[in-house]
Subunit: 454 residues, 2 copies
Amino acid sequence: MAAKPCIPKGTRDFSPAEMAKRNYIFETIRSVYHLYGFRQIETPAMEMLSTLMGKYGEEGDKLLFKIQNSGDYFSGLTDEELLSRNASRLACKFCEKGLRYDLTVPFARYVVMHRDELTFPFKRYQIQPVWRADRPQKGRYREFYQCDADVVGSDSLLNEVELMQIVDTVFSRFGIRVCIKINNRKILTGMAEIIGEADKIVDITVAIDKLDKIGLENVNAELRDKGIAEEAIAKLQPIILLSGSNVEKLATLRQVLADSPTGLKGVEETEFILSTLSDLGLKNEVELDLTLARGLNYYTGAIFEVKALDVQIGSITGGGRYDNLTGVFGMAGVSGVGISFGADRIFDVLNQLDLYPKEAVNGTQLLFINFGEREAAFSMQVLAGVRKAGIRAELYPDCCKMKKQMGYANANGIPYVALVGENEMNEGKVTLKNMDTGEQRLVTPEELASALKK
Amino acid sequence: MAAKPCIPKGTRDFSPAEMAKRNYIFETIRSVYHLYGFRQIETPAMEMLSTLMGKYGEEGDKLLFKIQNSGDYFSGLTDEELLSRNASRLACKFCEKGLRYDLTVPFARYVVMHRDELTFPFKRYQIQPVWRADRPQKGRYREFYQCDADVVGSDSLLNEVELMQIVDTVFSRFGIRVCIKINNRKILTGMAEIIGEADKIVDITVAIDKLDKIGLENVNAELRDKGIAEEAIAKLQPIILLSGSNVEKLATLRQVLADSPTGLKGVEETEFILSTLSDLGLKNEVELDLTLARGLNYYTGAIFEVKALDVQIGSITGGGRYDNLTGVFGMAGVSGVGISFGADRIFDVLNQLDLYPKEAVNGTQLLFINFGEREAAFSMQVLAGVRKAGIRAELYPDCCKMKKQMGYANANGIPYVALVGENEMNEGKVTLKNMDTGEQRLVTPEELASALKK
């Protein structure tokens, strides 16, 4: 009965102070999504296991939280099946629902189920928690929010451009300096084609990524170790040493990939995206980075990722273009492009750089001290007016020691207190105290709101 | 593979149009909670079953969604236990986590776990989904949002007063005319005391509630049927016939309950709340209603409930004072008072009365028609400025038939389109078309934003 309660490992409670910061993050992302015409949807936390299973690989299936069927979930099971104690097979008998693992599969399911109501291109965003039975560790949780935006039903590269504008605007609003890295799956495919080693593309990008740390000789040695032929390594040299501006990199790639139509298409797409962005004048740098290969099997065109410049942390946003969102649900031809902001990492970056705007994380602005029943009644009248002016204000509900009431103001970071005693009531005024400076002054109820709005 | 996907029964997808309305509801409630100094928390969707079980009665335990343990959930189970097929007992072996059933128990758990970080009184609000394995039916879902606010750690009746102000403000902002009904558990206890039938209090309130429909004689007959003595029925007559203003009702109750100290305390509390509210001048009527007895066993003081005046629907908000939030987790003495807005019903009421403000549910305000690559590039430049001015605007990403693009504007309720062709580009202007009136005019990019802001 009285055992100390706890919460499931890998999950979190969010305090008022944390919630204010998280809401600032979500609201910033939301408002930029809105500016670009994205519209919000929500899907249920629970999906049918038939929707979720097989979409995240064998490992992913194991990481799904499964929900036990209500009622008699043993029905139809033989003694042999039960005694087999085959946990994963029986889980599918005991459970038909699971918690969503990401927002992409539910979105695909949504598009298929609602295809007749939707007008394409469909620009949706979704900000909801997802659940994964991962082993909890620092910075990795079993419940966390994703903030996804996708455009489906349009092949135009202008969608890629707008998503990069969104990324640029969001991080500018946060005040986080970032580098937006961009690559293209077709360029990677082209590289594999010209060296005749399509299956080694991951080994190649991993090796290239180490150039700064280990030097050209060692990169080439690693490629040799991975079984890549000397001739192919020779062909790769201009790509490994690729440097300079994006324009220069693209010029080099155009030569190296001259024999790969797919590769050239990737170069052309990247050129269009980068030159359009350059005309629009982003605040943050966009850099072509051939080592970027996230979720290689999923993406078919542009791939992007965002790194914070002033904090050592992994990618804080990523995305790309995919060809076939809904094929697995029997609806072909839905291609799209999307991004996903990593709210938990952005939270950490904003914390480390101390970038939260004061007004975004402030709660109550004014606390009325409670000196007794009559004073409280007077204060309630003043409060009504102050709140009408949009000021967040409270009256301490109990008439207790001043010290306790002031302690409440301090603990909750309330910057002003209002003192209403006999004298104030006689004059129809309020003593306003600035908790930072200690300064006190007598103001009318009307002046109170304007004093706080400053 | 290609089976048509579906979602678990009793759950819902929310379309962009529905989300805009729901966000309007949540944002209105949130902003009023903020004005009154309530601070948001969030708790995990999953709680330990040890936290949830036994808190909602035997029936409630069955309605919990239980989450199967990861890994080998059979370990430690004998063959006999397995073959017993005792679904509910084995559920507790297979599962240690469940989805939250309401926001009150997680809040109690939160207060206990974080007691050392909290400053009391603690005014928290929480807007999150809850899950119940109820049989789905019209208006009842297996996943739905609750919007709770509670003050714990203060016995002051000013908290009750403020919660009623919050209710009044929220429904005024919605434009929904409501009656706020108020009662007090102590008055009900007093009634039971004076008639010597403490266990019949529910029968009594149910019978009294029928007075308008069936008349006094039939109410008394029903009370007799329920086994209430003639003497007690006689004593109840002034209460059954209770009418007039709140002040008149309270005067009657004071006489009838003269021999019950608890009852008189309830009258006094109600008097304080009503007279304080009357001084503050609410927009909606507050009515003392003795038939109000929601969750009788839980509440210990004031009880409230809100009914919409212009729509036939059950209670759309409710709440009350309770004595012992956290006792079940071994922390005594935490009393509080709270309210909960019924978002799904409010959604229905706003729909039926067509009360959603246009600006709250509007998405994109302006669509640029795509006439080709050069025109699109020009439009992107204009768009950047328009968005900087805070206008939600899009460019149709593909250069396809005008009819299709206009269809997109119509389907998404976009009120303005911008047409940029050869002529407009030469003049550095944009043709702005009002989709409602069909009116078109040529404007500069600067004029565009101000034309739309009007």
